[in-house]
């Protein structure tokens, strides 16, 4: 028979979740509003590009990925009222003007000959930055107080990794000459500089600060 009076700890020995997390309720809501804005801009762009790319496999993947990011936007939108933000559109804003400039540059290519640029912007620049910011948030927030956000980010990160892999493979399959390597790299360089100016998808601090503050020497 099981001894029902024998005490057990509330956390099992393998459960190392801890308190507190790095973000309070307000900061979490602000970050999630920025994430939702990014997901919206991304799914809108992917949807718009479908008509402009002649490569059939790319066209169909963009249509599929468009929905993944719309679903992410919806998940973030539903989380905001749980973080005391009832008017979700109030926080659905870009982190800063530099991020707006990044999206304007990323969505600029339209011509049917520019599939490489379209894919590079999303899969070599934006999605890696999203993965970084979401992973930082997922690992830095409390898995006890903010587990609903962690659960959302876990689902989303799974999509992001899968989509990044598919997008990267499409890029590799489209690059056949040295000139195309340069096209891809030049476009990546241009967009990375804009993302650097923005400080990441949630602005400066998107992935935390790894440096140690040192007292100034006299």
């Amino acid at each position: 028979m099981t001894d029902t009076k024998r005490p057990r700890e509330p956390f099992a020995p393998w459960d190392r979740r801890s308190l507190p997390g790095l973000f309070d309720v307000e900061e979490t809501a602000e970050r999630i509003g920025h994430y939702k804005w990014v997901e919206m801009k991304l799914f809108e762009a992917l949807g718009g590009w479908v008509a402009t790319v002649p490569e059939l496999d790319v066209k169909l993947r963009l249509g599929t990925h468009c929905y993944h990011h719309a679903w992410h936007a919806d998940l973030f939108d539903k989380r905001l009222p749980e973080l005391r933000e009832m008017k979700t559109e109030r926080l659905t804003v870009p982190a800063n003007d530099q991020l707006v400039a990044f999206f304007e540059a990323m969505t600029e290519p339209e011509d049917a000959t520019m599939t490489i640029e379209k894919l590079v912007g999303v899969y070599r620049v934006l999605i890696p930055h999203k993965i970084a910011a979401y992973t930082y948030h997922r690992n830095a927030t409390s898995e006890i107080t903010d587990m609903p956000t962690v659960r959302i980010l876990d689902f989303i990160l799974q999509d992001e990794f899968n989509d990044w892999r598919e997008g990267e493979m499409l890029i590799q399959s489209m690059i056949e000459t040295e000139a195309e390597v340069e096209r891809a790299m030049n476009h990546q360089l241009k967009l990375e500089k804009l993302m650097l100016a923005a400080g990441g998808i949630a602005g400066p601090g998107s992935i935390g600060d790894p440096y140690v503050e040192m007292p100034e020497e006299n």
Partner: protein, 266 residues
């Protein structure tokens, strides 16, 4: 990237040949596939018809290019309109979901076309579906695409599902049934958004329904789709009801097709 992307610039590889509706209807190769005379062309699509298998192959190719354009149209609705100013956030989520569904339909229909012995590009494409998806008013766009064209897709998929059943082709029947389920969802989206966005705007509602009639009429040529037992494509009452069509609306489409059939050259 521009807002409103013109139909004539839709990006395609070298296998796709675009024809206008006028070119398509006067193309003698189309007549050969459809049958020698008007009565053969307007016979119900069954595997027993002498030209039945070829007509089914042509129709499947038409479904495939239609799905590409439906994907492109839903994608453009995600891009062309601003949340808050033009459309609600939830409408765009529906359109993104439709993008995914249409991408899967492309994968299904191109696989079925191959299964039926058809090469990509064997038949011409016309851009009518996407043209309806270029309407600058999102309510008219959704009504034209989701209620008129996706409504037609319900009829076409149900006919192809029956064709698969009669032909003893379980793969065709299985796949068409899955696509049919998605189409009912898309038509219902159109019906729901039409009701929500025109709740206090009777004039816009009337304009949207008029646009739907224009699109429905374009695809009722010669009574191609109707409720008579021998109509090539069967109007599917039950699924249209599930998708938010009233009895009166279904009667109107049936009457339109009957009139077009009566006017068709014999």
């Amino acid at each position: 990237m521009r807002k409103i992307f013109p139909a004539e610039e839709l990006a395609r590889d070298a296998r796709f040949i675009r024809q206008t509706n006028e070119q398509r209807l006067s193309d003698p190769r189309g007549t050969r596939v459809a049958g020698g005379n008007a009565s053969e062309q307007l016979a119900k699509l069954t595997p027993g018809l002498a030209n039945g298998p070829d007509r089914a192959r042509a129709l499947m190719h038409g479904i495939f290019v239609g799905e590409i354009q439906a994907l492109e149209g839903a994608g453009r609705t995600c891009w062309d309109f601003e949340v808050g100013e033009d459309v609600p956030f939830e409408l765009k989520l529906d359109m993104a979901r439709q993008c995914w569904d249409e991408a899967r339909h492309c994968e299904i229909s191109v696989s079925l076309a191959d299964h039926m012995g058809t090469e990509l590009g064997e038949f011409a494409e016309n851009g009518l579906l996407y043209e309806a998806a270029c309407n600058p008013d999102p309510v008219l766009r959704l009504t034209g695409v989701n209620r008129a064209l996706e409504g037609l897709a319900i009829d076409v998929f149900n006919t192809m599902k029956e064709f698969g059943n009669l032909a003893g082709d379980p793969v065709l029947e299985f796949c068409e049934d899955w696509m049919l389920a998605d189409e009912v969802t898309h038509v219902k989206m159109g019906s729901d958004w039409l009701r929500r966005l025109t709740e206090n705007d009777k004039e816009r509602l009337e304009k949207a329904l008029e646009f739907q009639k224009v699109v429905d009429r374009l695809f009722s040529f010669n009574g191609f789709r109707g409720e008579d037992d021998d109509s090539p494509i069967q109007l599917t009452r039950r699924f249209r009801e599930l998708a938010g069509f009233s009895d009166d609306e279904i009667d109107e489409i049936a009457d339109m097709s009957r009139e077009a059939r009566a006017e068709a050259p014999s």
